[in-house]
Symmetry: C2
Subunit: 239 residues, 2 copies
């Protein structure tokens, strides 16, 4: 039987061979009551940073704060991140579509999402919203079995989005069909998705001046969250 997998919200330290990790909360209750694990059961602990702690249940208890599970780690494996490591900086879509997008990006294997504040961006997620998105990303990363959790934020304006040394692609319905050799061979790529009101002329001029490809996908108008999933799928696919 495959070992039961437990995703940890915060990476515990130390997290090495010989460490004992105490699991609490819903994960402990689920393991004890639903999965009915017993002492000695094989488990894997995933802190979401590529490490997988392989070990066994040492003790199961129930106190006034609920169930606890002590897991003894016997070895720590490391899972390589998905290549390319794709970051998406997008203007946030409105309402529940933002949460739906984060959930879908986790499933397709995107490494990070950050809010992009472009000239015509109308939604500026506050700190509390980013924390909520972080919880959604964490939950979605568990659901789809990621060893690397989808990272959220912090994002910023176009200056910030263009300020790192990595290949950048801008989604743009007026651009050319996607085909970029630099991106196809890069280990790390950043994809920018503009607001519903579209990029401004100044933003397009800036992309062109910096030789940042503006790429279109498909013949129709796409909302932000659909464009992000569709273009990311194509960029990440290397046959």
């Amino acid at each position: 039987m495959a070992p039961h997998r437990i995703h940890l919200d915060d990476p515990p330290e130390p997290f090495d061979r010989g460490s004992t990790i105490t699991i609490v909360g819903d994960e402990a209750k689920h393991a004890a009551r639903v999965k009915r694990l017993e002492e000695g059961a094989r488990v894997e602990l995933l802190p979401g940073d590529g490490r997988v702690g392989v070990g066994a249940v040492r003790a199961i208890g129930k106190g006034k704060d609920g169930w606890t599970l002590d897991v003894g780690i016997e070895l720590v494996r490391r899972v390589e991140p998905v290549r390319p490591t794709l970051e998406i900086w997008s203007s946030p879509p409105k309402g529940s579509r933002l949460e739906q997008m984060v959930d879908q990006l986790a499933q397709i294997g995107v490494a990070a999402w950050a809010p992009l504040s472009a000239e015509r961006t109308v939604v500026d997620p506050r700190e509390g919203k980013l924390e909520r998105l972080d919880r959604i990303a964490s939950e979605a990363s568990k659901q789809c079995g990621r060893a690397w959790r989808l990272r959220i934020g912090p994002g910023g304006g176009i200056d910030r989005a263009l300020g790192d040394d990595l290949p950048v692609v801008a989604g743009d319905a007026t651009g050319v069909a996607y085909h970029d050799e630099r991106v196809a061979s890069a280990d790390r790529v950043r994809l920018l998705i503009g607001p519903e009101g579209d990029w401004s002329d100044a933003e397009r001029t800036r992309f062109d001046a910096l030789d940042i490809p503006r790429v279109a996908f498909g013949p129709h108008v796409m909302r932000i969250e659909t464009a992000a999933v569709a273009i990311a799928s194509v960029v990440m696919h290397r046959s």
Copy 2:
């Protein structure tokens, strides 16, 4: 100024140079009250079957059944369908995720969606549900400016899905990375997406016997609606 576009729910006949088409309901009200079109205004009529009727408003009226708009057609253009023509047959996801999927498939340019009844499919949409999906497909096709409306249904079992003479691809997390020359050069492709409970062994054996590629996308578990959008994006993208 770009002509105002009006999407028609049912293709009127005749629909030729010289025809006068009477628009009623929300589209007429929107044109008259929100867009404030006047007699002589340029409009385009889109019945959703690739035809675009180019013409002008001949008369605007308001009766007891609401606003009406008479449009005289001066010429009919034909828009080619998106290539490849991609049909998706998928096991229907539960609840609102089915409607969300149809909406996203319209945006990325998929030609048709049909419910696939696989061995482990648990959702079997009734006739009323398909009619509702048809309305959502129609509305989404308008929103994203499609000249060809996303078609819905009727679908069926695996026999039916494999019964036509066109290249078929099956999404399968246990399959190989997508790369299929037959599909890459085909004008028309059918993509099958299985149920949350996965394809059965018998279904996989059948695909293999018929030389139908089982293709994986990405390293993680995807829900039906995310898999459909992600794999369709990759299949439709030809750089």
